[in-house]
Symmetry: C2
Subunit: 221 residues, 2 copies
């Protein structure tokens, strides 16, 4: 695997994320994502095409080649491992990790990343619940579901709360649940659809169906 500049890596990563949703990515879309001018995008697309990292015909949009996807997954692997390290070891909060990881991800040394992975205990998801690609670029599909739909004993990360009333926020705060909290459903009761959950490092406790329906979590499939 060749080395790419920080700039090239940022383009590749942005295209990867955009094409997950949209299929073909357009010049303006990418310009908005990267806060650059459309002319700069076209310039870089020519360069990445010449390096066979993407498919591109003028005016037709672009998408990563298989090689480009592999490069993107390498960058995402580095980014998410560093995010995990920052949250788990350095006690950054879930919303602080992204920005710092944006810089660390560009240090591309295979041994560094594989040893970091091992040191962290081969985590499957980052602090936002997004799956971490393995050494070979394999990545689990990311699923976002509401808590009642989460399989039993599946580790997940709180990613969203649908109801934003102060009543629910008070309750979540009291139970130490917030965006980024690790969550696992241990038991479900069919009588009232309440469930026992393990949240972060707290002992198992019970939450109601009403609450569970409003908590969304992400996990690796």
């Amino acid at each position: 695997m060749l080395n790419y500049s920080t700039s090239e890596e940022n383009y590749i990563k942005a295209i990867y994320h955009l094409q997950q949703q949209d299929g073909l990515v357009t010049t303006n879309e990418l310009a908005a994502e990267l806060k650059a001018k459309p002319a700069s995008i076209t310039d870089m697309m020519k360069k990445l095409k010449a390096k066979k990292l993407l498919h591109y015909e003028p005016y037709q949009g672009f998408s990563l080649s298989n090689e480009g996807k592999k490069v993107a997954l390498g960058i995402i692997r580095r980014h998410r491992l560093w995010e995990y390290f920052l949250a788990e070891k350095l006690k950054f909060t879930w919303d602080e990790v992204h920005e710092v990881a944006e810089h660390l991800e560009h240090v591309s040394n295979k041994k560094l990343i594989d040893k970091l992975d091992e040191f962290l205990g081969f985590p499957r998801v980052d602090p936002h619940g997004d799956p971490i690609p393995d050494e070979d670029g394999k990545i689990e599909a990311s699923r976002q579901v509401c808590l009642p739909d989460l399989p039993l004993n599946k580790a997940a990360i709180v990613s969203h709360v649908s109801d934003q009333s102060s009543a629910i926020l008070e309750l979540l705060k009291h139970k130490n649940i917030g965006i980024g909290t690790k969550l696992e459903v241990k038991k479900k009761f069919s009588f009232d659809n309440s469930m026992e959950v393990k949240a972060g490092r707290q002992p198992v406790f019970t939450i109601s169906e009403q609450l569970a329906k409003n908590i969304f979590v992400k996990y690796g499939a």
Copy 2:
């Protein structure tokens, strides 16, 4: 503290190291150190002078200003903390850490570095025995002495072995002592000048005067 480019940081760091030994640094010296052409050095010196990071008059050599030294110590702090992390947490060997830290050092985020420092337990020296500047840029003088001259209970790092005979190497290997090994002298016996040492994570053991004289260690004064 402003931000500087990777390139600027590499120049600043190199000047810092060279002027430790030489006082004024010359164009050719720095060119050799950085594997760049003398013309490139002159260009950058003008730039760094404009930023008030160094004193420079054409043909007269250059040296860091106080501000320049502060910047240099910040870079060295980052470099050595990452080296410690790589050796201590990721189990890199002492001779592998430098190259990787050369890249990590350029990620300059104060919170990251201060939290890393805390996570590592505020180490005083890196895996080569060189002292790590603190948050304010204070740095202990680095001392290199042979083992009999090391103060009792002072943590130090093996940095050099003077005799390279296979006999001494065999002995050192047997005692698990090598470059980068942490060493502490626990007790000295005046009868034969033998001493009890703690090496790495091994239990305390005894070494002879002859051996001790050939082991050089570095420590923060």
